[in-house]
Amino acid sequence: MTTFLDLLLGDTLTRLVFLPAAACLPLLLLPKGNAKVAKFYALLVSLLELGLGIAYVAARWVPGGGFPLLRDVAQGSGVGNPPGLPWIGAYGIRYDLAIDGISMPLALLTLLLLPIVFLVSWKGIEKHWRSFTAAFLLLTTGILGALFAYDLFVFYMFWEVMLIPMYLIIGIWGGERRVYAAVKFFLFTMAGSLLMLVAILWLAFTYKSLAGVWSFAYQDLLRLDLPLTTQCWLFAAFALAFAIKVPMFPVHTWLPDAHVEAPTGGSVILAGILLKLGTYGFLRFALPLFPQASVKAQPWLVGLALIGILYGALVAWVQVDMKKLVAYSSIAHLGFVMLGLLAFDLVAWQGALLQMVNHGISTGALFMLVGMLYDRRHTKKFDEFGGLAAVIPIFSFWLVFSTLASVGLPALNGFAGEFLILLGSYRTLPWATVAATFGVVLAAVYLLKMLYLTLWGPLTKEENKSLKDLSWREMFALLPLGVLMLWIGIAPGTFLAPSRPALESLLGDFHARVAETAPDEPTLRALAPILIAKPNPAAETATSQDGEGR
């Protein structure tokens, strides 16, 4: 019998999830006034975590095939012996973590961004480094847990765990209107997630009344066939929670405030990972659990995604603040991801998943660059800059590079993602795709405007003439992101292959269920095929070894 402690000490997802949280405890022992020790400690822990994550994935990598579905505790996938450890037995809640091709890229991106966040915050964060470190480590635990959770109750717990650290990060280390931004962020997210909790309880309760036992397990709840009206209500609750996180128009208003007020590191994680959890939630939970309702809601959500793309782009165009421009560009970019997801097409889904990662990389880099400029000049307004290319060439190179990646220049990462989304969506949503293409053009307009206003033109301000170029530390933080931008752009196939089987089976199941009509009364289906289907034999042995190994 595996125990939680075994999992924690073994080479498992559990260790990846809880190592950051456990690493908060020694922080209490570190000397109070000495920020340097805390900084190095934070960097060390985050690099260790990154190393463990890469080792975990590399050990289970199947060359040429898809990344398999791996569980921490895999014993018995049949009925009566569900995977995972019993956690709250009375309600059938099981601690069940699993990784597959969909969560793996996002998890790796999280781990990669963590040390980068500490590097870019090195100088910018002046107070309370120990608490700063603790907040980010706890945040990482919440993110990874939410990505790996295969039990909806556990997912909800981790989803909420992300909330408090981010609230503190914005509220303590943020800009002038930080408290307003932090409270707004908190209340928006909390309101959405409470409704989601009610929907989760409803699902579990329906399962209990049909199957006779409580269960919150993903594979159990997927077996529920619900009447269309019920589906629509529950889908609405899930969709609202995730749409707030994405954020989709019209519940996006917390995002510009949160981004502008958050410290650089907070913005990087917020844009890089937290927003993706909204789209991930759609892909993993909202769409597969309520297929008929998703199809029914498709026109509305596509409309909102399009508004997001165009509105985000237009608003970004008129910004006078660099950070706000990047924040609104996030709304537009995430609109593309949502469009891809709502196309219910394999190519579009692949593009959407790739674009989630891409956006994390390139927008993360842009927020870091804005932050670096802010560290030097303590302003983010365009009219304070101009002609910087001559003064700080390395910075300018990185800004141009990241911007072009974000715009979607071929041979850089943004192009691959956007192209696949548009290609896939065109098959099922031709008109919406045509409209979205204007968003690509607009993205070029506002992002190049940012370049023009900061880097080129006359060097008017006296203060800008003595700006220091990027330090080694800053370049070191940007380098991995730059490599990835180029790599994904040149060889997107390498990054698409691992997640393809997972997406394929999810989509196959989705279409199969849409083809049926929704029943009049809730019923239970046979075990959902997407969770029994094994991508390939190699993966199967890996999974069983996983179960026996510890």
């Binding site: 037995g89 303590i172 909390m190 309880l201």
Partner: protein
């Protein structure tokens, strides 16, 4: 009285005896005063240890009861007594009122609360209620030099005495109509009556109202904010939880009597649902506008009792487990919060403005962190015990088919998050005020007080992450809702 009955009273005897011992020590060896907290804690621990010698089932001619859930309730009472004692020492020393009477009264009121939650007979209930209440009145007025404290105690006393009269009248009506003071026999009489039993129902309603007063349910809540505000802060860590825990048990017992006649379930459900919704709404809305942290916590306590009643809207055998879990979480977070309030506010006789906490989260990382955990737990945010308590209670309402009530509860707790969060942001996001810097010179933060905060905070996090064993322990066996 035989040996069986005597063994059954072990915890109460230990507590009462400990109180007498402390009173004697105060008279004979006043130089030992600094050790009184330790002695009282040992007495409380001994009482907890004494639980195991209590035989299960009825004892003392059927006046007292003991089983798994009762043990959980009793443990909650003694837990709050322990936290209160830990928080008290520093306060009493700072205010120069350290003496044996305080500890003795506290132990006796814990004894009263224990008897109250075990009592299954109306006169025992009344006697235990008076033992509890009279000690509470005295403790509320314990800080004699403070005008606001005396005012609080008098308000509490007048209303409490009035309520006692109502309870007695209710008992008289019940006895007069059914011929018994034992709850099981009254229940049997209810079950037998063919038409609606008007007089006994009236009696039951009067007794219930008395305990609704002790639980500070709307509309019987008006005393609690005033009393909490004026009473000594460490004592409020006891006052705000222990009487509620004991009264909740009596409330459950009385409701079980009431629904013995199946035709009356609907009526009593309606009454409990009204009390619950009114408490959730009024408590949360009034807490929003409070500037004084003790008043805010008082209103939050009212709201929490409203959440608690969600599990009792359809009273049944399943209701008691969620209530016990909820109360344990409520004890940890509310007692813990008052313990921190005791330590972080220097002037006992004045208002405890929330704004005085500005920036203290970084000046006192440990206490600030604990208070933040208590607030998040009160707000029901995972992974804290408070979330789990709310979860089991809401889930109970859902399994009873009360979706509407559960959704009202969820929305009410969203309102709650707003004011709990205000404490967190005052602690961490506001610059430290000059007032706070001045005040902090008068603080006395001792190890005992820190221990109280840490104990409660660790409990909240531990049970928030791993509540399984607790559930099994509470009900004595694996529990299925």
């Amino acid at each position: 009285m035989n040996a069986h009955d005597l063994a059954s009273l072990t915890p109460e005897i230990i507590l009462a005896g400990g109180g007498v011992l402390l009173l004697l020590l105060e008279a004979l060896l006043p130089s030992l005063r600094r050790a009184f907290t330790g002695i009282a804690l040992v007495v409380v621990a001994a009482a907890v240890w004494g639980f195991q010698s209590v035989p299960s089932g009825a004892s003392n001619l059927g006046a007292l009861d003991w089983n798994g859930p009762v043990r959980a309730f009793a443990f909650a009472v003694l837990l709050s007594t322990g936290i209160c004692l830990l928080a008290s020492q520093g306060y009493l020393r700072r205010e120069k009122i350290l003496s044996g009477e305080y500890h003795a009264l506290l132990l006796w009121s814990a004894c009263g609360a224990l008897l109250l939650l075990r009592a299954t007979e109306l006169l025992t209930i009344f006697l235990a209620l008076e033992l509890l209440s009279i000690c509470l009145y005295a403790l509320a007025a314990y800080h004699r030099r403070i005008a606001i404290g005396t005012e609080a105690a008098i308000k509490y006393f007048l209303m409490g005495a009035f309520v006692s009269a109502f309870v007695l009248l209710g008992i008289a009506l019940l006895y007069g109509e059914t011929g018994s003071t034992r709850l099981d026999q009254i229940g049997a009489a209810f079950a037998l009556s063919e038409k609606f039993p008007i007089i006994p129902s009236l009696g039951l309603a009067l007794v219930l109202a008395g305990f609704a007063f002790k639980m500070s349910l709307v509309p019987f809540h008006a005393w609690s904010p005033d009393t909490y505000q004026g009473a000594p802060s460490p004592f409020v860590a006891f006052l705000s939880v222990a009487p509620k825990v004991a009264s909740a048990m009596v409330f459950i017992r009385l409701l079980q009597v009431a629904v013995a006649n199946p035709e009356m379930i609907g009526r009593w459900s309606g009454i409990v649902a009204f009390l619950s919704v009114a408490s959730m709404i009024v408590g949360n809305l009034l807490a929003l506008v409070q500037r004084d942290i003790k008043r805010m916590l008082a209103y939050s306590g009212i709201a929490h009792m409203g959440y608690l009643l969600l599990a009792l809207v359809v009273p049944g055998a399943n209701s008691i487990g969620p209530v016990a879990v909820y109360l344990l979480s409520y004890v940890l977070m509310t007692s813990g919060a008052f313990a921190v309030v005791t330590l972080l506010y220097a002037r006992a006789g004045e208002q405890h403005q929330i704004s005085e906490l500005s920036g203290l989260g970084f000046r006192y990382p440990l206490l600030g962190g604990c208070l933040a955990i208590f607030m998040l737990s009160l707000g029901g945010i995972p992974p804290t015990f408070g979330f789990f308590g709310k979860y089991v209670v809401f889930m109970n309402a859902v399994t009873d088919g009360r979706w509407g009530l559960a959704i009202v509860g969820v929305l009410a707790s969203l309102v709650g998050v707003f004011y709990y969060l205000r404490i967190v942001y005052t602690l961490y996001m506001k610059p430290e005020s000059r007032l706070a810097a001045e005040t902090s010179s008068g603080l006395l933060i001792d190890g005992w007080g820190r221990a109280a905060a840490i104990l409660a905070a660790v409990g909240i996090l531990a049970f928030g992450v791993w509540p399984t064993r607790l559930l099994e322990w509470v009900l004595g066996s694996p529990w299925a809702p």
